[in-house]
């Protein structure tokens, strides 16, 4: 038993007897990084939202006031942009859920196990084909002499051009895989026997869907919606690429940091999506959706 006396053995025996200490060591670095640095940064941002910028020097003035929030809520421009952003995010989420559900269902319940693997890879591949490349692809598709107009012209139709519709289409396209994958994972876990049992008890397809499948996969849909909703809320690049003149909250934040050099107001605007997301996360925590991420 020479190993007993080796220092490394003694050290690990020491840690083995002290699980608290092991946990502490494991947690220190991630907690410092996420807990202090990241949460600290968020807290600092929130505090900055109550400050202001000196009009002449452009420097941040650390006087506390609610002025920024008053501007945000009273100025009709910002109100419109807030409603537009939340509206677009909701619409994108609903569109993605409606498109993703049947796709995920076919993948999880109709395809063979071997085909399932291939289909999952097929969903994931475009997920990594660069955000910008995809947004840009839609720009060329939607452009005046682009493919869509070429396809639609014989039917007497035309592409929507750049604007809110184009933004909704592009965002729905970008985030679709984020909806398909969690729903697929949820449906994969759903036992077929429950669906069969429902049928045996006389339920028609729609009734089975409404009373059995939907309630059981709801957490998975919510999990997907966290991404589609949050990613849409904060986006400003797709809007710049295909949005025409319409703006979203992200554009206001971006412009206030860059051109306007008003960090406090940018911080104020940024608290809107944060508050919306935190309320949303708190609301969906009970559904168990967060374990589906």
């Amino acid at each position: 038993m020479t190993a007993v006396s080796s220092p490394s053995h003694r050290i690990s025996a020491f840690f083995h007897r002290k699980p608290q200490l092991r946990l502490g060591l494991l947690l220190t670095a991630p907690m410092l990084w996420l807990g202090l640095a990241y949460l600290g940064a968020l807290a600092a941002l929130f505090i900055t939202a109550f400050w202001s910028t000196d009009v002449f020097t452009g420097k941040v003035v650390t006087d506390w006031s609610f002025d920024n929030f008053v501007t945000l809520f009273s100025d009709s421009v910002y109100r419109t942009i807030t409603f537009r952003t939340v509206g677009i995010a909701l619409l994108v989420t609903v569109i993605d859920a409606v498109i993703a559900f049947p796709m995920a269902f076919a993948m999880a319940k109709l395809a063979s196990p071997k085909a399932q693997r291939v289909l999952v890879i097929m969903v994931m591949t475009p997920l990594w084909a660069s955000y910008l490349v995809k947004a840009y692809a839609w720009r060329t598709l939607l452009s005046g002499n682009g493919v869509l107009n070429w396809l639609l012209d014989p039917l007497g139709l035309s592409a929507p051009g750049y604007g809110v519709t184009a933004t909704v289409i592009t965002l729905s396209y970008l985030w679709l895989p984020y909806m398909i994958l969690p729903i697929y994972a949820g449906l994969e876990r759903l036992p077929v026997s429950l669906v069969d049992a429902s049928g045996d008890l006389g339920a028609k397809s729609f009734r089975t869907f409404r009373s059995v499948i939907l309630p059981l996969t709801f957490p998975a849909i919510v999990a997907g919606s966290i991404f589609t909703f949050s990613l849409s809320l904060g986006d400003y690049i797709a809007v710049k690429i295909v949005g025409g003149t319409s703006q979203m909250l992200g554009n206001v934040v971006y412009d206030n940091i860059g051109a306007a050099n008003n960090l406090p107001f940018a911080a104020t605007v940024a608290t809107v999506p944060v508050v919306i997301m935190l309320v949303y996360l708190a609301a969906v925590r009970r559904t168990g959706a967060l374990d589906n991420l």
């Binding site: 990084w33 640095a37 490349v133 690049i237 589906n292």
Partner: protein, 267 residues
């Protein structure tokens, strides 16, 4: 299930994939479209844009920056994500649920929030100048969750039996980790690392706010050149290359994770 329902579902799946892949195909085709405004249908084809892209110094330099940032962020995320995964999966303690929420937060909150929060913190709290380092720190922050998810899924599937057996047979903690735990985690770590790298490589919003001025990652280079008419064809080639190359990490990660991270996330 009834036959019409099956046909309908298969059709939906096929149509969905057609919509997903059609725009990407158009980008690939446009990268050899001789018309600089990508008029459709293409009248003639050329490889000129490819030649210009391969020798484009800005793009190559940006690619290099992206690779460095991605590798560094991935390395940090691998360490921190694995530590957090062990702590949360193997121990029950007060605040455990809040902590798992905290790991998710950097990707659950919109990128622009993470971006300006870190931008503000780096400059005003820590008094740092933005540079490559700050971008790496920012990337690592949202990459942690990808590694975390992969490792947690693997640990959950592994259980603790083999480690207990190893300890019963007299191996100490380090030896057990080296000979039992780590080998079983290896593919999950590789999958998590690949996905973290891909996530970092593609990130643009957070990068915009945390990378020093005058530096470009590849997405930022694309964005800066997107609206320059004479650069459009070169951007298109870079886009086409990214589409093709992006299939590699996804394929590898999927093989390596053995399906335990089939759920979504930005994963």
């Amino acid at each position: 299930m009834s036959k019409p329902a099956r046909v309908l579902l298969w059709t939906a799946l096929g149509a969905g994939f057609a919509v997903i892949y059609f725009p990407l195909l158009v980008v690939l085709l446009n990268s050899v479209n001789a018309d600089t405004t990508f008029g459709w249908p293409p009248k003639s084809f050329t490889l000129e844009w490819w030649g210009r892209a391969i020798t484009n110094e800005g793009a190559l330099h940006a690619l290099w920056t992206s690779v460095i940032a991605g590798l560094s962020a991935t390395a940090i995320a691998l360490v921190l994500g694995t530590m957090a995964a062990f702590a949360l999966q193997k121990y029950r303690f007060f605040g455990r649920n809040s902590l798992s929420l905290l790991v998710i937060l950097p990707i659950a909150l919109p990128g622009i929030v993470t971006g300006i929060a870190l931008n503000n913190a780096f400059r005003t709290i820590f008094g740092l100048d933005l540079g490559l380092m700050t971008a790496i720190v920012a990337h690592a922050t949202f990459c942690i969750v990808v590694v975390f998810n992969n490792v947690v899924a693997r640990l959950r599937r592994m259980g603790g039996n083999l480690e207990e057996a190893s300890m019963d047979l007299g191996a100490d903690g380090m030896t057990t980790f080296r000979l039992v735990t780590f080998p079983m985690l290896r593919s999950a770590l590789l999958a998590g690392g690949l996905l973290a790298f891909a996530l970092s490589f593609d990130e643009i919003i957070v990068t915009t706010f945390t990378l020093g001025t005058g530096m470009e990652t590849l997405p930022i280079w694309i964005y800066n050149n997107l609206f320059r008419p004479n650069q459009a064809p070169v951007v298109n080639v870079v886009a086409a290359v990214l589409i093709v190359v992006s299939t590699v990490p996804v394929y590898l990660a999927q093989r390596l994770s053995g399906g335990d991270s089939s759920s979504g996330g930005r994963i």
